[in-house]
């Protein structure tokens, strides 16, 4: 069963260095999850200031606005799609992910099957 792990960055605290999510922690995690063979897809996203939002109204008019959006507390920083037997295994990977530390969180969502 496929699950998407949506990695939400924690609020950045410049005074206290985040625990367990240094670049080397990310590299170690990425290697571990990739080597285990469960990864279907994964990306990390560029900084939020590069984001652009598109909305199309009922009359077809397109609105393009510059992200980021004020008061967004959880910022999607990247994702993994993994294929594992059940939710417990997906939750274990989420807990290992450095994104779940230092005030961040990982949202685990099953991928719908049609």
């Amino acid at each position: 069963m496929k699950y998407m792990l949506l990695i939400n960055a924690g609020e950045l605290d410049t005074e206290n260095a985040p625990v367990g999510c240094e670049p080397e922690d990310w590299m170690r995690f990425d290697k571990e999850i990739t080597d285990s063979g469960v990864v279907v897809a994964s990306e990390s996203l560029a900084d939020l200031v590069t984001a652009t939002r598109v909305q199309v109204a009922n009359d077809g008019k397109r609105t393009v606005t510059d992200g980021p959006f004020a008061e967004t507390r959880e910022v999607l920083g990247g994702f993994y799609v993994i294929d594992v037997p059940d939710l417990d295994v997906a939750l274990d990977w989420a807990a290992k992910c450095p994104g779940s530390r230092a005030g961040g969180s990982v949202l685990v969502r099953p991928v719908a099957e049609f």
Partner: protein, 406 residues
């Protein structure tokens, strides 16, 4: 027929657990469990009880499940695990008994991915065998609301694929407290109803004990399971003495201790010893405190010094404001009302205690004992406002009335 149904109540949980694990779907498991039991109720009185009743039920239920899935391919496709499971050999029923897979079901029903309010409901429904209206009554919500909650929870189990499995030993310390919490919360609602005409709801307390007994049989070496069962037995032993003939609340100090259930106390005390051996958890310590109350010949002879020591241990294991409140009440008994009140006042800003009836009541009683009557009146008024059940309200009203007379 009632007797037969009582037998099935126990069997139902086992059957349901085995089928849920096999098909990965509680809905289907519930449906075919009921159908198999209905079939047994029709057939057995005519054909006689089969030599292997558990096996008969399992085979019947499994056949009905496979039929149902052949008819409904869309549903079958949803349960992706099924293809494997349909081919796998049927679990072997030994000696007429089904393999007991209820522990898996306990962990699924109490899974942290489910909403906290749904875990108790599912556990009562699947493991205690309560019907949806009965579960609704247990949680004091309309049947339709409860039905929706149960449907939602079962859907999450199926669609997010929450597994039916016992956590590995290294996961148990993280997962077992959740299961115990579900059982204990059923018990506490039975011990002191959060609303309604009765102080206690004995049927709920007894369901919780029944669940804890099953858990204890399944996990005999887990000290906190033993501790929880001991705690509930030692507290439940006082049930008959906790209310007067009119249903009014009788405080521990006024209870007729001859009316305590000495058989339960003996059983609970035996379990406490086991639970405390080799490192005690919070339930075992609470059980030890309950045992000290149960062992005292009367209220004055209670070993308050040891109770305070146990609360000190408990506060380290579980540093919660409610434990601190109970410790303060014990200190008031050991060292006097003044000492207890000083501790209570330190806790006054705790958000969890601000609207907590036992806190207001404990404070009112201590103020009363110290002769600080206007403050005691105000505290009893808070207690009256925060009381849950009608007997709790009546008790607070009585106290207020007695203040006016003095």
């Amino acid at each position: 027929m009632d007797q037969v149904e009582a037998v099935f109540r126990e069997e139902r949980g086992r059957l349901l657990a085995a089928l849920a694990r096999r098909f990965g779907d509680l809905d289907l498991a519930e449906e075919v469990t009921s159908e198999a039991i209905e079939a047994a109720l029709v057939r057995w009185p005519v054909d006689g009880v089969p030599p292997n009743p558990g096996g008969w039920l399992m085979t019947t239920a499994r056949r009905k499940a496979v039929d149902r899935l052949r008819r409904d391919q869309v549903y079958a496709a949803k349960l992706a695990v099924l293809q494997v499971d349909m081919d796998r050999a049927a679990p072997q029923a030994t000696g007429g008994e089904l393999p007991d897979e209820r522990l898996q079901l306990f962990f699924t029903c109490a899974h942290p991915a489910l909403a906290a309010e749904d875990r108790g409901a599912l556990t009562l429904r699947c493991l205690a065998g309560l019907t949806t209206p009965e579960v609704a009554r247990a949680f004091l919500v309309p049947t339709a609301t409860m039905a929706k909650r149960i449907v939602r929870a079962k859907q999450k189990i199926r669609d997010a694929r929450i597994p039916f499995r016992v956590p590995d030993p290294h996961e148990l310390p993280e997962r077992l407290p959740g299961v115990l919490q579900v059982v204990y919360s059923v018990f506490t609602e039975g011990y002191a109803a959060s609303s309604g005409p009765y102080l206690q709801r004995l049927d709920l307390a007894e369901e919780a004990i029944r669940l804890a007994r099953i858990l204890h049989r399944l996990l005999p070496a887990e000290r906190e399971v033993t501790g929880l069962l001991a705690l509930m037995l030692l507290v439940h032993a006082r049930r008959d003495a906790r209310t007067g003939p009119d249903g009014s609340l009788v405080l521990l100090e006024d209870q007729d201790r001859d009316r305590w259930d000495h058989e339960l106390i003996a059983e609970g005390r035996g379990l406490v010893v086991t639970a405390l051996t080799g490192g005690a958890g919070p339930y075992a310590v609470q059980a030890a405190i309950a045992a000290l109350h149960d062992e005292a010949a009367d209220f004055a002879k209670t070993d308050w010094a040891q109770i305070v020591e146990l609360y000190d241990v408990l506060l380290e294991l579980d540093p919660s404001p409610v434990v601190a409140l109970n410790r303060a009440a014990a200190i008031a008994m050991r060292d006097g009302a003044e000492a207890g009140l000083a501790l209570l006042d330190e806790l006054a800003d705790e958000p969890r205690l601000r609207d907590y009836h036992p806190f207001a009541l404990a404070r009112a009683d201590l103020l009363h004992r110290l002769g600080r009557l206007p403050e005691a009146t105000a505290a009893y008024e808070s207690a009256l406002r925060l009381a849950g059940s009608e007997p709790e309200r009546a008790h607070a009203r009585d106290r207020l009335a007695s203040m006016e007379q003095t």
